[in-house]
């Protein structure tokens, strides 16, 4: 009889490799303007600082000029937010506030394509993610919180919990629009007004969100967007006119904010770094565990505070899993963020790329084995190939420090207790993943892991109804769900 490899025809050329033709989304859809202005008291106004330039990480070219706010501009914005809080927003009925939030959600959905392309250009993340995750999830957050606006009495905070006042919000560059939505939507639903500062490298989508809010007829001053770097962020969070500070970013900066706010009586929530463990037991659904590992560390090129950056795999399946993982990571398409088939885009700034490269080099110096995807990477722009570090130890910098890039470290374990001990052996505590087909083990692990979010047989799943936040140096306070609402309300019970 014949063997399976016997054949009479010549192989199809595609079996030697099928190259997908470039499928770039049009950059023109983003309608990028030459210059962007801060949004204060309902209008786009000139900042009084020197203009700054924001870059397209995909090709390292300048994208737009952004007028920068000064500390004086922050004063004006906070004063506008105070007026809006006292005169308009806090006296307004919850039902009425909810209508504005619904309108903003619809406005985001209507401009979804434009925002997806703009976010892709300004941040460098792939269009597949901005189109299928960032923008729709941002809209979802407004839809979800719109529903809370007239139901505050059902949050368990008393019959009529009161808003806090003016919220100062500082957000990072890894999910610019989504982080703005996470912070603005609950603040507004609860009756607070907002002054928000996007990261200096990624301000554009938040300024378009300001347009959406203006188009929704949001009263002037309810949301103000100031622009600038860390000094402006510091001026904002330390401003005596704010009642609540919400910060997402690095642990170093978060620690400084907590120090300076101590004793002021201002409410604070911090969402900081992470070094999430992704734990794979030997009875896991291995093919899906591989997908979860890939999603955990290569989603947004690993520039995710809750990334599953430490893989802990049980020894009996370590070899098999790693072989599958490397084969899968090799299929990731790295490159032009605008190409609809790109899986891993650019690193958001040259500074971040340098930091990632430096940490990977330190791992190699300390004896880790470095695996890197050989998928081609564009010549221009800031790219890091998917990287897997094996033979790592808990003492190495790459295992201790947050890399914030597409770099996975791999350690093995023998028993559930050892997995818990290794997973918890970090000052951070934001996220963890558990992969097992045994439900009782998953539940026990979830109890034992010191992490704000524990995903069971999945990773990097987000929902506005689910609370998100950290332990230890990953911060405190929750965003999303009733717990996220509580962060913007006085408990009146």
């Amino acid at each position: 009889m014949t063997t399976q490899t016997t054949r009479t025809t010549t192989p199809n050329p595609l079996s030697q490799g099928w190259t997908y033709a470039p499928a770039p989304e049009s950059a023109a859809i983003a309608a990028v303007k030459d210059r962007y202005l801060p949004f204060v008291d309902g209008t786009f106004v000139e900042g009084h600082g020197d203009d700054a330039v924001t870059f397209n990480p995909g090709n390292a070219e300048p994208l737009a000029t952004v007028s920068q706010s000064t500390t004086g501009d922050v004063d004006v914005a906070v004063a506008a937010a105070r007026r809006a809080y006292e005169d308009v927003w806090s006296p307004m009925s919850g039902a009425e506030r909810g209508r504005y939030l619904f309108r903003i959600a619809r406005g985001l959905a209507e401009r979804a394509r434009e925002l997806a392309v703009l976010e892709c250009l300004d941040n460098g993340k792939p269009i597949r993610e901005t189109r299928d995750f960032d923008v729709p999830t941002a809209a979802q957050h407004f839809f979800y919180h719109a529903g809370w606006a007239d139901k505050l009495g059902h949050l368990g905070l008393g019959p009529a919990p009161r808003p806090l006042g003016v919220a100062a919000q500082v957000i990072p560059w890894n999910f610019p629009l989504l982080m703005a939505a996470w912070k603005i939507a609950p603040a507004l639903a609860a009756g607070n007004t907002v002054v928000i500062k996007p990261a200096e490298t990624t301000p554009l989508s938040v300024l378009v969100l300001a347009e959406v809010m203006a188009d929704a007829g949001l009263p002037p001053g309810v949301v103000n967007v100031v622009t600038g770097a860390g000094d402006i962020g510091s001026a904002l969070v330390n401003h005596p006119g704010v009642d609540k500070v919400a910060f997402t970013g690095s642990t170093t900066v978060g620690r400084g904010i907590q120090r300076s706010l101590a004793g002021t009586g201002r409410r604070l929530t911090l969402e900081l770094g992470g070094k999430g463990a992704n734990i794979v037991f030997d009875d896991a659904a291995l093919d899906q565990a591989v997908e979860g590992i890939v999603n955990g560390i290569f989603f947004n090129a690993g520039q995710v505070c809750c990334a599953g950056s430490r893989l802990l795999v049980q020894e009996p399946v370590a070899e098999e899993l790693l072989a599958k993982l490397e084969a899968r990571a090799q299929t990731l398409r790295v490159g032009d963020p605008l190409d609809k088939n790109t899986d891993v885009g650019a690193i958001s700034s040259v500074r971040q790329k340098t930091k990632i490269d430096e940490l990977v080099a330190s791992g190699a110096d300390e004896g880790a084995h470095v695996w890197r995807s050989t998928a081609p990477v564009p010549d221009r722009g800031w790219y890091v190939s998917p990287t897997i570090l094996t033979a790592t130890a808990g003492s190495m910098r790459v295992v201790r420090e947050e890399i914030f890039g597409p770099v996975l470290t791999v350690e093995t374990f023998r028993t559930p207790d050892e997995a818990v001990a290794k997973a918890n052996n970090t000052p951070y505590g934001l996220s963890a993943g558990v992969w097992t087909e045994k439900g009782s083990r998953a539940m026990a692990m979830a109890s034992a892991l010191q992490a704000g979010v524990v995903w069971d047989n999945t990773f990097n799943r987000f929902d506005p109804a689910a609370a998100f936040g950290g332990y230890g140096e990953s911060g405190f306070g929750r965003e999303g769900g009733p717990a996220g609402m509580a962060a913007y309300l006085e408990d009146g019970s």
Binding site: G17, A285, Q288
Partner: protein, 350 residues
């Protein structure tokens, strides 16, 4: 597969039950696979020891792969490949010799405006015509010498609810009439009753008959995934078929819904990839039923490329069991070449 040394007790025509010996494994299989079929209990433990399939993660990956945007030259190449992978199928009680002959002629030349024998942008012929055993001779006459194969569903298709004797006679009828490929169904009743050994025995018995024929025929094993219901079951059925000597894993008969879905095809692709990693042997995959549009077909090819690997992007290693799919592929092919859509009425009926 390799030479199949079946003991006299399991030669074609001999009914075997789940309690009979499952021995006589492939000599070239690694020990953990060769030993897996030693007896019913060992086979059960082996199948239970396969990693589970998490439906949420599987469907998420399938949905992500479905967002791939295949354009321009890569799309035209995919359409031509898909056409060359079609098992053009008619499986109706009303199949007449005339209907089957027409279908076979269409298989040879799916787009008469651009005949497959022509030059330039000629449209490829399909891989095979798939018919019931008593219509094989008709189809074989038409496609003789063309390179287009004749595949035949046998083994009391589609339910498989008959004696092994009847099933094997069905296979022999197809082979004797000139079938190049046999599409058998597994005994889903036995599978769902946990009689995995019986399922394996029947596959081996059919394989023995196929192997005893001209020596060129290949065996497709239809799992009927819609009746197995869970992805874990689909994976176990894949491994029974692989251990039984399948040349192809095939999702469905087309008579049960759901038939071929992207997640189910992905489970099959993962199985053949794992099988090759462990044995060095490549096995083909055939989703069948429910794939009607070029978009569906290209999504499947993307999954083949990224889950199993480009080595499977070949009509020898991947097929589409379909009837109406071919018409849409031809229309989309013309649109790619001409820059506009053609009138569907210009695509010939079979």
């Amino acid at each position: 597969m390799t030479t199949y040394a079946s003991p006299p007790s399991r030669v074609p025509g001999t009914a075997t039950g789940p309690d009979s010996s499952l021995a006589a494994d492939e000599p070239r299989l690694p020990a953990h696979l060769a030993g897996a079929t030693a007896d019913e209990a060992t086979l059960r433990r082996f199948l239970a020891g396969l990693p589970g399939v998490d439906p949420v993660g599987l469907e998420q990956r399938a949905a992500t792969l479905a967002t791939r945007s295949i354009k321009k030259a890569s799309k035209l190449a995919a359409i031509d490949l898909a056409i060359s992978m079609v098992d053009l199928t008619t499986l109706e009680g009303s199949d007449t010799p005339g209907k089957v002959a027409n279908l076979a002629r269409k298989a040879l030349s799916p787009d008469p405006g651009r005949p497959s024998t022509g030059s330039g942008n000629s449209c490829p012929a399909v891989a095979a015509v798939c018919v019931y055993p008593d219509r094989v001779a008709t189809a074989a006459d038409v496609v003789a010498g063309s390179g287009v194969r004749v595949a035949s569903v046998a083994t009391a298709f589609p339910s498989g609810r008959s004696s092994l004797e009847v099933k094997l006679a069905d296979v022999r009828l197809a082979l004797d009439s000139g079938a190049d490929e046999i599409d058998m169904v597994i005994d889903r009743g036995a599978f769902l009753a946990g009689q995995y050994g019986l399922v394996l025995e029947q596959i081996r018995a059919v394989k023995a008959v196929v192997a005893a024929g001209s020596g060129r025929a290949r065996l497709k094993v239809i799992l009927e995934t819609g009746e197995l219901a869970t992805y874990d079951n689909v994976r176990r059925a894949c491994w029974i078929a692989l251990l039984g000597g399948a040349d192809f894993l095939k999702t469905s008969t087309g008579k049960v819904s759901p038939a071929a879905t992207l997640p189910v095809t992905q489970v099959l692709l993962q199985a053949v990839r794992d099988w090759r990693d462990q044995t060095g042997q490549q096995v083909a995959v055939k989703p069948a039923g429910g794939i009607r549009t070029t978009k569906d077909a290209i999504r499947h090819l993307v999954a083949v490329n990224e889950v199993a690997g480009p080595e499977w992007l070949d009509p020898h290693w991947f097929r589409f069991g379909a009837s109406s799919l071919l018409d849409d592929l031809v229309l989309q092919r013309r649109a790619q070449l001409a820059g506009h859509y053609a009138d569907p009425a210009t695509v010939p009926l079979d």
